[in-house]
């Protein structure tokens, strides 16, 4: 088997992974970036709306970083680690300037400075954007910047199977070249997991097909904890029926949600912020409207852009307009866009501190959506995820540089055969269950039972059904026996990861007996600060999820009621 050695290996070629790669490479260390798709095809490309930043001299004169942190803390329903939020706000301006210096073509104001607009949950407008393809433009900028480094090597279309450990130290990872199914052992002392989200485990999701929670699954299997996995964001405006995202930018630019009576129903649920209340609140309100019969047939509501005028729509919301046109056949300047909530973001993730370090294993780091630093707490505000990928991608890159200076690669080569055998076993098996069946069942369970409205019965049922699926998955098999870009094998491996992660999510959600942010319990509809102002920590030990709790870090904001 092929073996290569680097100082650092990075799992993931999205924004978080590439930012860290640029930083580590700039310090002179050798880096391997491993991605199951060509980097520019990572899910980050799909981000539309923008990136939040307080920029000195280029923000509302009344704004300052503390207001921004406060918005994050309140938006996250006080489950946010406040030191993490403060760092995010403090570094937001300089990171946008850095992206600008690396070539990101941000939209401009007439005087040539970077433009800004409002997004949900912001006291002052802070969102910086590149038309409505901000993620794509930033991803390309970071990827293109990285092509200037000779010491970054890309393993594109390599699927990472598992982390390699030697005692309590990281000793690299094992990946498979997708084209040939040849395994490769990439040895390193520092390993960053920046593998993105989990959307595909939900029946309705705005996420890319490739978001299957691989990094989180890999982490769990190596004894690394996931923090707050019960917190999943549902975006209010998934296009009906394809669930393609209609960006929050639409509402930021003045679009209004309406029910089948033509009422602006958000006035009832969020009398101050209306349609721009945080996502959890809007998604719940929409679900109530649909449930109570005020939706349109098929189960959706209307997003009204018509009053904005065609010219404005084409200038500022071209992607939303095109999406409605191409994927629902709706001309948004003449008709309302049909929308319904869909899974969108995973607030939980690999447990790391504000340096991006995980403390379960020596040498393991995580950043971006696969990590939980926790800047989003129980609910993420729009534009803050892109910000997190680059701010914490850089912080974590810097931490890795320090780590690399003081640590040496593990001398021994670990035995990685069991990892490879486990993957090949799916091909070798002649009968069993097929990945498609298991995935579809999982997607239904997660949507119905671990979705927008939860309660004890639904969650208990989810836990037991997923347990069952995990047993069945042990006899999962792959009909395609070739080693010639066998995508069926990778789908099976993704299913294994989704099941492991879903199991911890459902269990953690069952355990949290309160409502907070995106975690809404019909049977415990109030936030309970006395008992539940704490992070959930989950480990996977065989068939069991081990749960413990950990305090939230406070700096200056005391919990208050969250009204918008």
């Amino acid at each position: 088997m092929e073996k290569k050695e680097y100082d650092a290996v990075i799992l993931g070629g999205g924004l978080a992974g590439l930012m860290a790669a640029n930083i580590v490479a700039a310090a002179g260390f050798s880096v391997a970036v491993v991605s199951k798709v060509f980097p520019t095809r990572s899910h980050s490309a799909a981000a539309e709306g923008g990136i939040a930043a307080y920029m000195m001299g280029n923000s509302d004169p009344n704004d300052d970083p503390d207001f921004m942190s406060y918005d994050e803390v309140k938006g996250g329903d006080y489950l946010v680690d406040q030191d993490a939020a403060e760092l995010l706000s403090k570094k937001s301006g300089e990171i946008v300037s850095l992206l600008d210096a690396w070539g990101a073509p941000f939209n401009r104001q007439p005087d040539g400075r970077i433009a800004l607009r409002y997004f949900g949950g912001q006291t002052y407008p802070r969102t910086r954007f590149i038309a409505d393809k901000t993620g794509m433009a930033l991803l390309h900028t970071l990827f293109e910047h990285s092509t200037g480094f000779k010491n970054i090597e890309y393993y594109n279309e390599y699927y990472v199977l598992d982390i390699v450990k030697e005692g309590n130290n990281v000793n690299g990872l094992v990946a498979m070249e997708m084209k040939t199914l040849n395994p490769i052992y990439l040895k390193s002392r520092a390993l960053l997991i920046a593998s993105g989200g989990i959307g595909m485990m939900y029946k309705h999701t705005t996420n890319s097909y490739i978001n299957t929670g691989d990094g989180q699954g890999i982490a769990l299997r190596s004894g690394v904890a996931l923090k707050d996995p019960e917190f999943v964001q549902f975006h209010p405006t998934g296009l009906y029926p394809s669930d393609i995202l209609i960006s929050e930018a639409a509402r930021a630019e003045g679009a209004i949600l309406k029910n089948n009576k033509g009422e602006r129903f958000m006035a009832k649920y969020a009398p101050h912020k209306f349609d721009l209340a945080p996502r959890d609140i809007v998604s719940r309100s929409m679900t109530i409207e649909i449930r109570e019969g005020r939706g349109f047939e098929g189960g959706y509501l209307g997003l009204d852009l018509r009053h904005l005028g065609k010219k404005y729509i084409m200038e500022r919301l071209a992607l939303a307009y095109d999406a409605a046109k191409n994927f629902s056949g709706v001309d948004a300047s003449e008709e309302m866009i049909p929308v319904r909530p869909a899974q969108h973001y995973f607030m939980g993730g690999i447990d790391v501190d504000t340096t991006g370090t995980n403390h379960d294993l020596n040498g393991i780091f995580s950043a971006g959506e696969s990590a939980c630093v926790s800047v989003h707490g129980a609910n993420r505000l729009g534009s803050n995820s892109l910000l997190e990928t680059v701010v914490y991608g850089r912080e974590t890159g810097n931490t890795m540089v320090e780590f690399l200076k003081t640590h040496k690669n593990v001398e021994t080569n670990s035995n990685v055969e069991p990892i490879i055998d486990a993957a090949y076993a799916y091909i070798k098996r002649e009968t069993g269950e097929h990945f498609g069946v298991l995935t579809e069942e999982l997607r239904d369970i997660m949507w119905d039972n671990v979705g927008i409205f939860r309660d004890n019965d639904k969650l208990a049922e989810a836990v037991s059904k997923i347990k069952d699926l995990r047993v069945r998955a042990k006899s999962m098999y792959v009909t395609d026996k070739t080693s010639n870009y066998n995508t069926e094998l990778f789908n099976a491996l993704e299913t294994r990861n989704m099941l492991d992660v879903a199991y911890t999510m459902a269990t953690a959600a069952l355990n949290r007996k309160e409502t907070r942010g995106a975690h809404f319990r019909d049977d415990f509809p109030e936030r309970d600060d006395k008992n539940w102002m704490k992070h959930t920590i989950t480990y996977l030990a065989g068939d069991e999820v081990k749960i413990s709790y950990k305090p939230v870090t406070y700096t200056r904001w005391k919990p208050e009621v969250r009204v918008y």
């Binding site: 060509f38 520019t40 300089e94 070539g103 038309a131 393809k133 993620g135 056949g329 395609d480 010639n484």
Partner: protein, 313 residues
């Protein structure tokens, strides 16, 4: 919602069996994207079907293929809009790139060309040190963004005739990428960039295929034309650009003196007598030679034109 049964014919390929067509039947409604069609075929009928797809919203460039012979993104194609009168759709992999498996091709040659144009902004040192803020007019941003919108899907290169003929041609996408930096006021390396791009720009035949197939409306051929506008600033010389300079000078000269472009003179002056004769023989063979002798007369309002030329200088 109303559904229709459709037949999807897919050209499959693997190393062992080579290429063969396989048909699948399934139901689709008026919203069903081709990526969803493929996903359902894979998960319900043929798990071995191999294709690439990620964002399903036309921003990641994964799902390039030929649908009914047309280079397309599967996610941007609605099945019921693509079916023929028998409710059938034909799907196959992109041209030009080597096939790997079913709809998956190896597009390394595309990426290699992208890497060749120094695809990254090199800002002024003071900006990188954080000492200076970069400004950019909204107009410049719009121009740069147009060519930056390329999603690396590879469709234009698979459709471009020149790429296949001429190894030295960088191809449409790389030209769009390269020019995006030439045009960016924040960049400091314009002359190096022109060194990379200028010769190649003249290897494009202006057939507009890239313009036709690009799902992002990047218009690479326009980037190529705009690159040529920088010929004056280009310091180097290659056989092609020497010819291009002659061509430009002649055009200018012709317009100045006659008020129009006389094709025959232009040809002779640009390519020289020998080349012109060789071409003339080709034209003779194809029966087009008579056009070369069509008499060009001077235009009437020469003074106006001279004025305009003077203004330009």
């Amino acid at each position: 919602m109303e559904e229709k049964e459709i037949t999807v014919n897919i050209k499959k390929y693997n190393d062992k069996d080579g290429a063969f067509w396989k048909s699948y039947k399934l139901k689709a409604d008026k919203y069903t994207q081709m990526t969803e069609v493929l996903r359902r075929i894979k998960s319900e009928q043929d798990p071995s079907l191999a294709y690439r797809a990620s964002c399903h919203m036309a921003v990641c460039g994964s799902c390039s293929m030929k649908i009914n012979g047309i280079p397309s993104l599967a996610c941007r194609t609605i099945a019921l809009q693509a079916v023929d009168e028998k409710n059938e759709i034909n799907v196959e992999s992109m041209d030009y790139y080597p096939g790997v498996r079913d709809l998956i091709t190896d597009i390394d040659v595309f990426y290699d060309k992208m890497y060749k144009v120094m695809p990254r902004l090199i800002a002024d040192e003071s900006v990188l040190m954080g000492e200076n803020e970069q400004r950019m007019t909204p107009e410049n941003q719009t121009e740069v963004w147009k060519f930056q919108e390329c999603i690396y899907c590879g469709l234009c290169v698979s459709a471009c005739p020149s790429v296949k003929e001429d190894e030295q041609f960088l191809g449409p996408a790389a030209h769009a990428k390269g020019f995006r930096f030439v045009d960016d006021v924040r960049d400091t390396k314009r002359s190096e960039r022109l060194d990379l791009l200028m010769d190649s720009a003249y290897r494009c035949t202006s057939c507009y295929m890239c313009y036709e197939v690009c799902p992002q409306d990047v218009q690479p051929v326009i980037a190529i034309k705009k690159t040529k506008n920088y010929l004056d600033q280009y310091k180097g010389n290659t056989p092609i650009t020497i010819m291009a300079r002659k061509h430009d000078d002649t055009v200018e000269n012709l317009i100045e003196t006659t008020g129009k472009i006389k094709e025959s003179t232009l040809f002779l002056k640009t390519f020289g007598f020998g080349e012109a004769m060789r071409d003339a023989i080709d034209m003779l063979k194809s029966g087009k030679f008579k056009y070369a002798f069509e008499k060009d007369s001077n235009v009437k309002n020469m003074n106006e034109i001279k004025g305009m030329m003077g203004e330009k200088k």
